[in-house]
Structures are given as structure tokens and as C-alpha cells.
Chain length 284, copies 2
């Protein structure tokens, strides 16, 4: 298993996640040259200024000679960027993306005319509601799980290189299938945000004093970037709708139990949910 020698690393997308990757590269691999590309010159400059050996890459084509490239653009453009890099003449770089929906980018890469074997789909589970490099910290890489979703077309060497590089950056790497990832994130992240946006929309007519902690804590996730979440909902539509149906069924089930003369089924159901949440909190 030959591990690549990383001398030049590219970054396409200098936002929250890209900024976090750059911060870790500056910290643990300060001799590597970082090539930063972003459609926002301000974002690119912000990240480049905080790295000891960074260069601004005006065009994606400027990254052709990199050893590895992180693609951390918004979900809506990530597939296009990955395909462009796979098709870039002369480029043999390991490509790792960081998008929060995986099947769509995998499909785009594998349906392109390029060899997708050097593409390793990934997703650091960043969570949170902030955006942009200014709020970014390397902690996103080191404290959250970094999921890789290789496919049959992913070369084992590329996967090993990606894992090695990410572990050098301090990430805890795990592997999943792309569709399993998208289902899990639909439940764990995308549905909760959909709930928040829906709940926030319902509260417009109520006086603020009658909207207590529970409402506010849940609806607060609607304070997240609308463009980012619109992209995620669109990109992971089928999985999101499937989990939404399950969620609505469960809401109806609980509401129906509240109508039954027998109080026990409702109490049992709520008690079971409480047990699950306590187990989750104890698990960490």
C-alpha cells in the first residue's frame, strides 16, 4: 500500500468546512503548499492568509498538479466540481469531497466519462448553524466523525491515501455506503432542519411570550443558511421524503394514542422514546 507524498494540496471551496481543513493542514502539515480556489475572492483570501504556504488558484485548472484536492463547495455544485476535476487534463490528484449528501455526487462521478477511481466521497459531520470560513475552526475536523463513502469504483489505494491524509489531520474516519449515509443523514440532520423550517413558519402569528423554550430551541435550526438547506433538501429529496413519511406516521400514531380511552399505550410510547434519548445521551 503506497501512501502518496503530499506536497501540494488543493482546496475548492473556502467556506466553513474548507476553512477547517485548511486550518488543520496549516497546523499539522505546514510544509505542504495549499492552493485555494473559491468563487468568492474574499473567502479564498481569508483562508489563504491564515496558512503559511498558501497560493490563490484563480481557476480550478490551476490545481491540476496537486497531489490531493478537497472539494468543499456547496452541495448544489459539488458534483459538477468533482467531475470537472476528474476530467481535468493531466490531473492525477486524489479527490476528496465533503458534501453532506453522497449518492448524488457518487452518481455524477461514476456516470461521467472520467475515471472515478481516485475520487473518495466524504463527509465531515459538522452540524451547527454557521457558515463561511470566519466561523470555521479545525475542531470540525478533529472532533466530529469524518465519514467516507467509497464505491466499487473507488481504488483501494485512493481510499487508503484519503484515510491516511485525514487521520494525519486528526480526523476520526469511518466508512459507510453512500445510500446508507444519505438515509442516516436524512433522519439525523435533514429531517430535523425540515422540522425547524416548518415549525418556524407556523409561529408567525403568535405573540413571542407564548413561544417557550421547546418551540424556540427546535425552530432555532431554521436560522441556518437557507441556500445551503435548500440545496440539501433538493439533493437528498428521495431519502428525505422517505424519512418524512415515517416521521408523519409516528406523529399520527402518538396523536391517535392520545385519543384512546386506555392511557397505557401513549404512556408506554412516550416512556420508550425517553429511554432511547437517555441511552443516546449516555452513549455520547
Amino acid at each position: 500500500m503506497s501512501i502518496r507524498d503530499f506536497q501540494n494540496i488543493g482546496l475548492v471551496g473556502a467556506g466553513l468546512i474548507g476553512g477547517a481543513v485548511a486550518a488543520r493542514l496549516a497546523r499539522v502539515m505546514p510544509d505542504v503548499t495549499l492552493h485555494v480556489h473559491d468563487i468568492s475572492a474574499g473567502n479564498a483570501a481569508y483562508v489563504a492568509e491564515r496558512h503559511p504556504k498558501a497560493r490563490i488558484a484563480t481557476e480550478v485548472a490551476d490545481l491540476a498538479s496537486c497531489d490531493a484536492i478537497f472539494v468543499a463547495t456547496p452541495v448544489a455544485t459539488i458534483a459538477r466540481q468533482v467531475v470537472a476535476l476528474l476530467e481535468l487534463p493531466g490531473c492525477t490528484a486524489l479527490i476528496i469531497d465533503t458534501g453532506s449528501v453522497k449518492q448524488a455526487v457518487v452518481d455524477a462521478a461514476e456516470n461521467s466519462h472520467a475515471d472515478a477511481s481516485r475520487f473518495v466521497p466524504g463527509h465531515p459531520l459538522a452540524g451547527g448553524i454557521s457558515a463561511g470560513p470566519g466561523r470555521s475552526s479545525g475542531d470540525i475536523v478533529t472532533t466530529r466523525p469524518f465519514v467516507l463513502t467509497p464505491t466499487e469504483k473507488t481504488a483501494p489505494e485512493a481510499l487508503a491515501d484519503a484515510r491516511e491524509l485525514l487521520e494525519r489531520l486528526g480526523a476520526t474516519v469511518s466508512e459507510m455506503k453512500p445510500d446508507a449515509h444519505d438515509r442516516a443523514l436524512a433522519l439525523g440532520s435533514h429531517l430535523p432542519h425540515l422540522i425547524a423550517y416548518a415549525l418556524a413558519g407556523l409561529g408567525a402569528e403568535e405573540p413571542a411570550t407564548l413561544l417557550p423554550t421547546s418551540y424556540r430551541s427546535i425552530a432555532a435550526f431554521a436560522g441556518s443558511d437557507p441556500q445551503m438547506w435548500a440545496d440539501i433538501f433538493r439533493t437528498n429529496g428521495p431519502e428525505l421524503k422517505a424519512v418524512l413519511e415515517e416521521f408523519k406516521k409516528r406523529l399520527d400514531l402518538i396523536a391517535a394514542m392520545a385519543d384512546e380511552p386506555d392511557p397505557d399505550p401513549l404512556l408506554d410510547s412516550l416512556s420508550e422514546a425517553k429511554d432511547r434519548i437517555e441511552a443516546l445521551e449516555n452513549d455520547g
Copy 2:
């Protein structure tokens, strides 16, 4: 407007809310004798021990000579307790309840054979997920809105007395109609908890690492007392189901917009929800 002279105040239910009322009474009206009744002798003793002039009332009938009585039992028994006090021979006390669902207790009081004019339905918007007197603090009374929901049968003098007493305890008192209160709480508190219980139930099969902040923050409200929430869901069933239907429609609407070729409606909808949440956060 004759304000009652409060020498003896009764408390039925020495839990989270009852404990908070008792704490405020001890602080600002230390010369008043507090008569504490709870089916849990431990709860009653806990609250009584923390008050300079408290007595344990073994039976509700022991409260007959009180000037005012707070009824702070769980929602499922509150209507029964209020009616029992209204029907208690010789009792002329002002009765204030603190239940989080108002129409059911109002209906029970007004459909009883007793004179309901000295009953003032109330609800301190306590929020939070704890229960029992041990976690209780007078802050619940002084920092959260205390809503009164008088009806046509409520005597103006009783309402004035209740307001006076609560304001002496440090509460910020407001008034609403019982059904408007129940609709507002269905949206602001009961639906958010129903969401939490449903979401907590869905996550059982997922690895904990794939359940990020958004899922955990929302589902955490399912850590609340199942008996209390079962009672609330059962007692406020019609209002809860009405707002649940609105919520499901909005979830479906957002999911449907994520399917449209035109990205603007979805983005507009999420942006509008974000604006509402930010306005709410700025309102306080």
C-alpha cells in the same frame, strides 16, 4: 375593588410549579400560613420545610378555611381538584390553578354544580424538562409570563384578587381566552414535545455518531416526564391535532418545493422561516 386579606393560602400539588409558588410566598409574604397538600407526603414535606409558616394538609378538606388556594397538580387531575375545592362545604377561597391546558379545567368547573365565580384559571409558562419540587425555584413565577384565562363566569373581584396576589409574588400577569391559550400552547409547547417524542422514536436503529446536534437538540425534549406529557396530549387533544395537521401540511409543502425544477419557491420559503426566527430571537 376589595382586595382579599391573605392570611392562609393553600397549595394542592407540591411539584415543580407548586414548589415555585411556595418559594415566592415564603420570600414576599412570610407571615402568611401555607397549607400544603400533596398525595406524595415527601413532596408536601419538602415544600413545607422550606416555608417559615407551613402546615401539612393531610386532606384537601383541611384547606376549607384558606383565603386562596393554588391547584398545581398534574393536568390529568387538576380539573377534579378544582371542582372538589369549589364544592368543598364552607370554602370561599379564591382558587387559582396552574395547569398547562385551560379549556378542560374551565369546562369541568363550569359544568359542575358549584359556583365557579371564585375560580381563576391560570398557567405560568414554566417550560423546561424537569419535574418535582426539588428542581423548583421561585424564578418560574418571576421570570416567566403567568397567563390567566378568566371566563364569563369568573367574578371580576376574583380576577382582580388573583392578579393582585400573583403580582405581589412577582409574576408578570397577562390574560387570554382559554381556547386561545390552548391553541397557542398546542403550537408553542405541545407540538414541539410531540415532535421530540416522534423523532426520538425514529432514531433507535441509527449509530449514535450519525445523530448530530440538530437531531439531539430536538429529540432531547423527549427526555421530559412521559406521564406529564401523556396527560397534556390527552387533555389538549383537539387543539394539538389541529396544529399537527397544519405542521404536516407545511412539512409536505417544503418537501414538494424541493421537487420543483424552479429552486426559488423553496429558497424563499426557507428564507422567510429564517427571518421569522431571527425576528423572534431579537424580540426576546
